[in-house]
Amino acid sequence: MREFIDGNEAVVLGALDAGCDFFAGYPITPASSILVGMLRELPLRRGVAVQAEDEIASIGMCIGAAMTGRKAMTATSGPGISLYSENIGLALMGETPLVIVNVQRQGPATGSATKGADGDIQFMRWVTSGGLPMIVLSPENAAECYTLTIRAFNLAERFRIPVFLASQKEVGLTRELVDLDVVRRSAPAVVPRTVAPVDCVYEPHACALLEEVGPMSPIGGPHLVRYTTSTHDQRAYLAKDPVLIEEMLDHYRRKITDHLEEISHLDVDEQEGADTVIITYGVTARAARDAVASQRAAGRKVSLVVLKTLFPVPEAELAAVLARHERVVVAEMNLGQYVQELRRLTEESKIVSVAKMNTELISPTEILVRGGLS
């Protein structure tokens, strides 16, 4: 079915198809249409959607609902992420599956409410205290808003963690041709929640190995469930023993870092003999695709990497590509945030940062000129 829809509408469709059945949000440009869409669609499917009194309540309601067995989502923009911050820590601590859509706008603070940017990339990575790993996915178009929303739900369930969809105004509110029948063929299958068997002695954070993820049991279900914001043992009782605390934090860290291959998702279009690779993500990838096409049409070789998983950084895949190129052009709509990750993986002298955050898209020409390609 060919449609003319924007990224935010595609997020709603993706969430519905992923089985999302709880949404709480607070109005904010440019994310409001997700709130309105979910309020319209979820109740018809016997799901629950509410507008909360603020962003703190939005995510708080989602966390409570998720622990009763719901697949929950919330959506906001940068100012709202600031208010989500502490509760994202709670969701990490309580191992709560949750999808958080951040339709980024130019910041800081109120910034330019109706203009796009990718200025929250590192903010999403380090959004809360404690420094635990986060998963951040970045769609470049409306079709990917659909598929990556499903993927975000899947990763949230698989790893019992809040997952960010890092959209932005230029993706969320840009209408384009989407054929969902075609897009669905490439969409991941929905991963259901792993639920503890009825006749077990349920421990909310039990796992056989530290890198594994234990099953959930819904509040109101067959087991008594405990949940806590405090450092705790596997039964979710307060823990003070440093050995135990370290073990739990190792679990939270390793359930992500030991599964990078499962989480990493990037589009590598490497051209043999190319000495330059353009690395980018989100809406800027679209300009990069045109830039690469024009170079190749002119007979010049160039490689392209479009990241769909921003965090955890797909280090192995990136390092391999970086090693095969002399120059690395990193294009992004911020002051140079993701380029910091690449500086860890290769020599500084190879890197050219094409960063811009003035509310305008980075154009194909700008990538080529500032990237030293033409």
């Binding site: 089985g19 109101g220 679209r286």
Partner: protein, 468 residues
């Protein structure tokens, strides 16, 4: 049976702390009601009282400071069958004030118990939102200048299901908690309590004087409100039930509720206003063409831009649309950027537009700066009055757009302009635009737009492509 987990006793409160009594009253109320433990959840947040969830053989949720009502509301909304008990201190009530007001306004079925001891015990006895006037705390050493919050009085105008106040020394505490737990909606029991660690040492509040304090502060014990508004989590479902049934009947699945969690990509139902844009015509457009429509809010710029994009799609093209407008409606500028292309569109920016449709003074002001640098490769279509005032290197085609639109009818200017574009730029056949209008718009609006389009097309002579 008791709901207290004896293995974890004694309670981790200071000797003499009233929280121990509150823990007992909650247990007594649960015992009287014989609620199944797996259908009860005790939700707490940060503060001394926040540790009590672990002493109950029920579900337990211990969250962030002041946010207990957000989790409790999420749990209740998700599963209205549960008995949700939220417990917080006066500190939490203060920092979570917005949630307190909202829970009462919604009348959501959560029982909130505030262990109100007038200061922050966990952090050393600082003043809270309920600290009485003149009271001495760690942060009001010379006496508190802030008026104490009357929790009940503040929520009373919302008429929630139950509002009551008591003290830890009062014999009615269990009765009030029992009634609160069965109240059909939001219930608050404000239990005045004595912090033996900090507040009692600095202020003459004792078991014997607490009644005098209540009298002096004009906050009296007893039940202040028994409201009868519908409970929110069920009301929300009841509100949507007719729509659910209608949808299910329309889908012919026998009225059985299809669990959203069972939805698969194949069986998913499209949201209500989705429209399939099947191809009805073929465009001869051979290259990516960018169109800038610049006008005023209230001129339906965005909706005609969507028709332009949808018509292009129905002619086999790809299309993108971006809008720019102020947060107000019907004042200021409104501008849409539409890209049409026979190929997939990646970059959605327009550095120099190929085609500009200029529809108002606001639009002129928006494009004026950029227009200086446009070359004749850019074609600007504008009303005669606007064209005169545009300083540009672009090729300008002045047409009687306003006059034509006046003849067609109200709000037809955008469609008249699009008619000009379709005819002059050979973007795609008019039938695709007309089909898009009929699919996406209400009949009356579609007819005006179609009439506008036709009138606009007539402004361009048959061989009048300005590029030739």
């Amino acid at each position: 049976m008791s709901y207290i987990n004896e293995e974890l006793l004694p309670f981790g409160f200071c000797p003499g702390c009233g929280h121990i009594k509150i823990a007992g009253y909650i247990d007594e109320a649960l015992t009287r009601l014989e609620l199944p433990p797996e259908k009860v959840v005790v939700v707490t947040d940060i503060g001394c009282i926040g540790i009590i969830d672990k002493y109950y053989k029920t579900n337990a949720f211990h969250g962030l400071h002041g946010r207990v009502l957000t989790y409790a509301s999420g749990i209740k909304l998700a599963d209205p069958e549960l008995t949700v008990i939220a417990v917080m201190g006066d500190g939490g009530a203060g920092i979570g004030g917005a949630h307190l007001l909202s829970a009462a306004r919604r009348n959501i079925g959560v029982t909130l118990i505030v262990a109100n001891n007038f200061n922050y015990g966990m952090t050393g006895g600082q003043h809270s939102c309920t600290t009485p006037f003149d009271a001495v705390t760690a942060t009001t050493p010379l006496g508190n200048l802030e008026a104490p919050l009357d929790l009940l009085g503040t929520l009373l105008p919302s008429k929630p299901a139950f509002l009551a106040r008591t003290t830890v020394f009062s014999e009615d505490a269990t009765d009030l908690l029992t009634e609160a737990l069965t109240a059909p909606g939001f219930a608050l029991v404000d239990i005045w309590d004595i912090c033996v660690a900090y507040f009692a040492g600095r202020n003459p509040l004792t078991r014997n004087t607490v009644d005098e304090w209540m009298e002096r502060m004009d906050m009296h014990p007893g039940v202040l409100c028994r409201g009868s508004r519908p409970e929110f989590s069920r009301a929300l479902r009841d509100l949507h039930e007719p729509l659910c049934l209608a949808k299910e009947a329309a889908e012919g699945d026998g009225g059985g509720a299809r669990e959203a969690s069972e939805a698969t990509s194949e069986s998913a139902t499209p949201p209500g206003d989705r429209v399939a844009l099947e191809q009805v015509a073929t465009s001869s457009l051979s290259a990516r063409t960018s169109v800038l429509i610049a006008g005023s809010a209230g001129q339906k710029i965005r909706s005609v831009a969507t028709l332009l994009g949808a018509g292009a799609i129905m002619s086999g093209l790809a299309a993108t649309q971006k809008d720019d407008y102020p947060i107000t409606v019907r004042t200021g500028h409104s501008q849409s950027e539409v890209i049409l292309s026979p190929d997939r569109i990646h970059y959605t920016g327009i550095e120099t537009p190929d085609v500009v449709l200029l529809l108002s003074d606001d639009g002129l002001a928006q494009v004026a700066k950029a227009a200086y640098s446009w070359s004749p490769g850019t074609r600007v279509y504008a009303d005669e009055a606007l064209a005169e005032r545009l300083d540009t290197g672009a090729r300008v085609v002045a047409l009687p757009l306003e006059e034509t639109a006046k003849k067609v009818g109200r709000l037809s200017l955008g469609a008249v302009g699009l008619g000009v574009l379709l005819a002059a730029e050979s973007l795609f056949p008019a039938e695709a635009f007309e089909a898009a209008a009929r699919l996406l718009q209400k009949d009356k609006v579609a007819e005006i737009n179609i009439a506008g389009l036709r009138a606009g097309m007539e402004l361009i002579p048959a061989q009048g492509d300005p590029r030739t």
